[in-house]
Amino acid sequence: MGVDIEKYLRSDKLPHIWCPGCGHGTILSNLIRAIDGTDIDPDKTVVVSGIGCSGRATGYLDFDTLHTTHGRAIAYATGVKLANPELNVIVLTGDGDGSAIGGNHLIHGCRRNIDLTVVLFNNQIYGMTGGQFSPMTPTGATATTAPYGNVDQQFDLCDLTKSAGASYVARGTTSSPRQLVKILKEGLNHKGFSFVETFTQCPVNYGKRNNIGGPTDMLEWQDGITVNINKWDKLSDQEKEDKFPVGIIHQNEQPEEEYTNRYQKIIDDMAEEGK
């Protein structure tokens, strides 16, 4: 690897606030490795986050960073990007922030196919508020607000974002960092709405409460519930049950169909007519 991670970090803001064994730091370091692998100019990069454990990631990154309100990171990022399309705009969100309170902005960001890279930290739980169930908590799992087992069903966020119009959709896990770097890098380079769901472990508020165990047990658990996309189609429906494909799930790059490019075309056409 050999990437100088500190180059992209505000080291004076460390140590971070995440609990021992949390997977969020793994996502952050691999996001940095992915950024380092692109020709993205750090001075032209804005990272936007919402509220929750994932929301704190922006504070540690040495870019222009914006820590917004709960669920609205994509809406803020849309303004940042449309106002200046030269900027690389990355959104860091969580499963509660991005798929519950901010779910509407997620699907509409996909629909617009605006050039954002959205990294959703999915730890299957509301971590910061102490372990309430989220839209990504599996049915039957235990949470502080689901003491008798979660009644709700979870989303398949990759299916959701693909259907809503995202032109790049991928899923990775903190248990497979090399693959995570690869799909994040591809997402950063993609011109259009890129959505990367990352499974990350919350041993404190999810793993222990659901008898999965500590951090390493949770990484093994991630491996057990995921299958590489290359092998996914060969599985029977029964084998697919309670499992998730990982890797690049959908990619359809058509830069001229990207939102800011389409808007710019209106401006250019008008200027042309005005001549």
Partner: protein, 379 residues
């Protein structure tokens, strides 16, 4: 030698014309009656000058996106009405906390809830001040005519850029939907204020520095300052430390910013003669009936004057105190159950009789309603 043109404009469209003259570059919002014309106007005008318009999926996204545009360095605006104004409050709070220049237009309609969507109200006066949680300063302007809407929209952009403080432009349905012929200069002839941007040293840059004027310079995203912005209380570096000291220092700076510039921010017009013992204090569309009634009263030998508040927040308390020292009676017509009258009473402190004229059913306050009160003798 600026050339002027005469145009027939609706109040909502005067926001667009004024905004474009002030150099608006970015609009994000969501359709709502009676403010949709503001969005429609910017959708048409902005791309002509390379600006951007975006219709978002909801009201929250509308203001969030507009703040994002502001952080990227563009003069930004969003527009809504009562129900949408309620939805925008949390993100308005972030705008205040991070000191994002932004104009928020609220064309007031009758509430609560869906209320009377196409009827006028001045029911959001207190929401403009206290709608978002926590103590905070706010600037709110309220025009009473189409021309004033044009002028105050330019002023709103100037104030928000100058003080890094979101500015609310409180129209009401009457002003928003009435048409008047007004004279406006060419857009390029209008001078407007741009936010102060930092120069030089990027390494040791503090985005929330405590400066003499209380307004830290604001870099555009993408210019190499790589700074952090958060809704948490922060110190001059922009980072949260979670200390009471930082919270107090920031809140005090926010207050000082407006307190020390009251003369620039608080706008009003008046016609109060030495002999006027009764003064009608009004704002927004009710001003029209107030002035008309005062003129008629004078013709009938009644000594009355008027004060028109163009800035509602911060409140013109000192002016009210000055009036209260001479007048016997202050009449406050409002299209609500009595909102600004409380603020007026606070400053009158019992020195004069304060009487409200209130309508909150979507109908107007007519000159004769004010006249009726002017005719009553002060007891």
């Amino acid at each position: 030698m600026s050339e002027k043109k005469k145009v027939l404009l609706q109040g909502d469209m005067a926001v667009v014309e004024g905004g474009m003259a002030a150099g608006a570059e970015f609009f994000a919002g969501y359709p709502i009656t009676p403010a949709s014309e503001v969005a429609e106007g910017f959708a048409k005008e902005l791309p002509k000058v390379g600006g951007k318009f975006i219709q978002m999926e909801d009201e929250l996204a509308g203001i969030a996106c507009a703040i994002g545009g502001s952080l990227s360095g563009k003069k930004s605006i969003t527009a809504t009405s009562g129900p949408g104004f309620s939805l925008k409050q949390e993100n308005l709070g972030l705008g205040i906390m991070i000191e994002a220049p932004l104009v928020v237009v609220d064309v007031q309609r009758v509430g609560p809830s869906t209320g009377l969507p196409t009827s006028p109200s001045q029911g959001d006066v207190m929401q403009a001040k206290w709608g978002t949680h926590g103590d905070h300063p706010i600037i709110a302007l309220s025009p009473s005519s189409v021309k004033e809407t044009y002028d105050l929209t330019i002023k709103a952009f100037d104030l928000t850029e100058k003080y890094r403080q979101p500015v609310i432009l409180l129209l009401d349905e009457i002003v928003g939907h009435m048409r008047e012929k007004i004279e406006v200069p060419k857009r390029e002839d209008v001078e407007s204020i741009d936010r102060k941007r930092p120069e030089g040293d990027r390494e040791n840059f503090n985005p929330y520095e405590f400066t003499e004027d209380h307004v830290p310079p604001m870099p555009d995203y993408g210019t190499g300052y790589r700074y952090h912005t958060t809704g948490l209380f922060h110190d001059k570096t922009g980072f949260p430390r979670g200390t009471s000291e930082d919270a107090k220092k920031l809140m005090d700076r926010f207050s000082a910013k407006l307190e020390e510039n009251k003369d620039d921010i608080i706008l009003y017009d008046e016609d109060i003669r030495e002999e006027d013992k009764t003064v009608v204090v009004s704002y927004g569309s009710t001003v029209r009936s107030a002035i008309s009634a005062v003129n008629e009263a004078r013709e009938n030998g009644i000594n009355a004057g008027w004060l028109k508040l163009k800035t509602i927040w911060p409140f013109a308390g000192e002016k009210i105190e000055e009036i209260a020292k001479k007048a016997d009676k202050i009449i406050v017509p409002e299209l609500n159950q009595g909102q600004l009258i409380r603020e007026i009473e606070r400053h009158v402190k019992g020195r004069a009789k304060v009487v409200g004229i209130n309508r909150y059913d979507g109908t107007l306050i007519k000159p004769e309603h004010v006249m009726e009160e002017l005719k009553k003798e002060v007891k």
